[in-house]
């Protein structure tokens, strides 16, 4: 167990270093960092001095090392566009994105997994057919379009729910939450649904496919031949075997919710990291892009680590040596 986790941890660190390298290369070579920091009228000498003081003349590996060291301490430099420390910008917006992603993830899982199981167990029933039609619609509707339709219906036509921003937030230390005010709670409904729909439909389809695969195996057939009850077969044997591969997939899905939040945040003007990132991309604000990339990589690495450990717990073939 310890060996397994430490191996995975080591791999995660390597992945982070590689992503860091990409982020650094982005920062160093896309556009000229000096040009982005100084005005047009700066003299050549001043630029030279700045280049020297920023250490941009050092060997590549030294610069990379410094970049990593700074990043580990949470220092990602200054935003070209907003002239503020990137870490502060991200810390400010992080709670908004995390709250949105969390609500969507819970929504997608709580609805998606049971629907996937049901459609696999009763493939011919009316509900299964409806679920599959809905899920096909779900993967075919771009997230931004879902957002627009929800805004049009619940915001513009019915005027029930707010269509942009987070509403009122409460500061809890450095964390700002929208969960404690009624306007905050109302504001999160439409964005969370928007973000959850696509992920949910994917989860339905993946769970269904895995479960159907398991239901075709010999051990399920042998379980039927022993006269075990369908309840026991479906929910104890089949479901547990389905969960093994599904854990990985769901881990990846939950991770990608944070990235897909970019679109939702853009549609609903939700003041999160995604909105910050999309503005950074269109204005070529490299330090923000690099920091966001690293942060997302970090989230993924953590999720992957959790998934691997879960895998280990669920599957005795990994846990117990033969």
């Amino acid at each position: 167990m310890f060996k397994f986790v430490s191996m995975r941890l080591l791999q995660s660190i390597v992945v982070m270093l590689v992503v860091g390298l990409i982020a650094f290369a982005l920062f160093r070579f896309v556009g000229d960092p000096i040009n982005n920091m100084v005005g047009q009228d700066t003299t050549l000498e001043e630029r030279e001095a700045l280049t020297e003081s920023l250490g941009l003349n050092d060997p590549f590996i030294v610069q990379y090392g410094r970049f990593v060291a700074n990043a580990v301490q949470g220092d990602f430099g200054m935003s070209y566009r907003l002239r503020q420390p990137v870490s502060g910008l991200i810390a400010e917006r992080f709670p908004a994105t995390l709250e949105l992603s969390l609500v969507s993830a819970v929504l997608a899982l709580v609805l998606g997994v049971p629907m996937g199981i049901y459609t696999a167990l009763k493939p011919k029933s009316f509900f299964s057919r409806s679920f599959m039609t809905i899920s096909l619609m779900g993967v075919s509707l771009p997230t931004f379009l879902i957002g627009i339709l929800l805004i049009l219906f619940f915001g513009v036509t019915l005027r029930w729910l707010p269509t942009f921003g987070r509403g009122e937030v409460v500061e809890l230390g450095w964390w700002s939450t929208g969960f404690l005010t009624s306007s905050g709670l109302k504001s999160i409904i439409l964005p969370a649904i928007t973000l959850a729909v696509f992920q949910m439909t994917l989860i339905v389809r993946l769970v269904r496919a895995e479960m159907l695969e398991v239901l075709r195996t010999d051990y399920i057939k042998f379980a039927h031949a022993r006269g075990l009850s369908p309840r026991l077969i479906n929910f104890s044997i089949a479901l547990r075997n389905t969960l093994v591969p599904v854990i990985t997939i769901i881990g990846l899905q939950v991770g990608s919710i944070i990235a897909f939040a970019i679109i939702t945040e853009s549609v609903f003007q939700w003041p999160g990291m995604g909105l910050l990132f999309i503005q950074a991309v269109s204005e070529v604000d490299i330090p923000v892009m690099a920091a966001y990339l690293l942060l997302i990589a970090f989230v993924f690495v953590v999720i992957n680590l959790i998934v691997d450990i879960l895998y280990f717990v669920v599957d005795p073939r990994l846990r117990v040596q033969s």
Binding site: V30, M289, V301
Partner: protein, 311 residues
């Protein structure tokens, strides 16, 4: 020689007798989807002839006809079936031209991703060892980032290295590369795992015993045997690519408004949503959904038809 008379049935005859065609004729969903896909592709390819107006010919666009509702509404004009946008461009015509851009980006990026992914998958699966480990690590890392994020990053980098007007001009190519680079992993993984199965099959060893070089075995023997799943992925990814292009354009980092795709059109219309001019957004949106839905239905059907185990 009596060869000609006993020659094998032609490709078309074989196709008409195949289970695939039989299956197709018996699934109304797939037939409707194929029909709709055909209509949209046809309209997009022949937009010059089908569209009632040329929305990008400034001479024919009249600003006074701006923001007209669809023809069946009270203020609508019969010449503008689905209404006009703020600049007086016919919405129906912009949809046709927009679909063209969306489809070009979709097909090109899927093709790009497929070629890259298949090549990597073939090499990785056949070579094995260190080459395989390295390529698959790269794929793993990339796979943990959603395609949309990678596409955004690549687009961001492109904006960083080229001036704005050049970027706008090359927007379509940048998109193709961005989407293609973010989609190759799935082909690579699927092809790799198929190759690893095929590689150990005896027909491959038979080729080795004959003395065939590896590349002939790969191209002539293994490749045709792994194309089934690739076709399914390509279909489903065409839908995804169209969605991704639309999303990027909607976010303002895709195709510029001067030659809009469906996503750009929805973005333009989105600004008018609150003032009641819903048609500028909704109709391109409907076109996009119908296209993507049809392709997805075809993809699902193809997957089930090629994998009889699932039925």
């Amino acid at each position: 020689m009596s060869d000609i008379s006993s020659e094998a049935p032609s490709f078309i005859t074989r196709f008409r007798e195949s289970d695939l065609w039989y299956n197709f004729k018996r699934s109304p969903g797939a037939m409707i989807a194929a029909f709709l896909t055909f209509v949209i592709v046809f309209g997009a390819v022949f937009a010059n002839f089908v569209a009632p107006h040329n929305p990008f010919d400034l001479a024919t666009v009249d600003l006074f006809d701006g923001l007209l509702p669809p023809a069946w509404e009270a203020d609508g004009k019969a010449t503008y079936l689905l209404g006009t946008d703020d600049q007086g461009r016919d919405v129906f015509s912009t949809i046709l031209y927009g679909s063209r851009i969306s489809l070009i980006v979709g097909f090109a990026s899927v093709g790009f991703a497929a070629v890259l992914g298949i090549a990597v998958g073939l090499i990785s699966g056949y070579a094995g060892g260190i080459v395989d480990s390295f390529l698959m690590r790269v794929a793993d890392v990339q796979l943990s980032f959603p395609a949309i994020l990678i596409a955004l990053l690549i687009d961001g980098i492109a904006r960083g290295v080229m001036p704005r007007d050049v970027h706008d001009e090359l927007a379509v190519y940048v998109l193709v590369v961005a989407i293609g680079l973010s989609f190759w992993v799935q082909y690579a993984r699927t092809v790799r795992s198929s190759v690893m199965v095929e590689r150990n099959k005896e027909y491959v060893q038979a080729g080795q015993v004959i003395g065939l070089p590896d590349w002939i075995i790969l191209i002539r023997h293994i490749l045709p045997n792994v194309m089934g799943p690739v076709l399914v992925i390509a279909t489903i990814q065409l839908a995804l690519a169209v969605i991704t292009e639309a999303t990027l354009s909607f976010l303002g980092v895709g195709v510029p408004p001067t030659s809009p795709s469906l996503g750009t059109l929805i973005r333009i219309g989105n600004d008018y949503l609150f003032s009641g001019e819903w048609w500028i957004t909704i109709f391109p949106g409907v076109a996009l959904v119908v296209l993507v839905l049809s392709v997805n239905i075809l993809g699902d059907w193809l997957r089930d038809a090629l994998n009889p185990k699932l039925r």
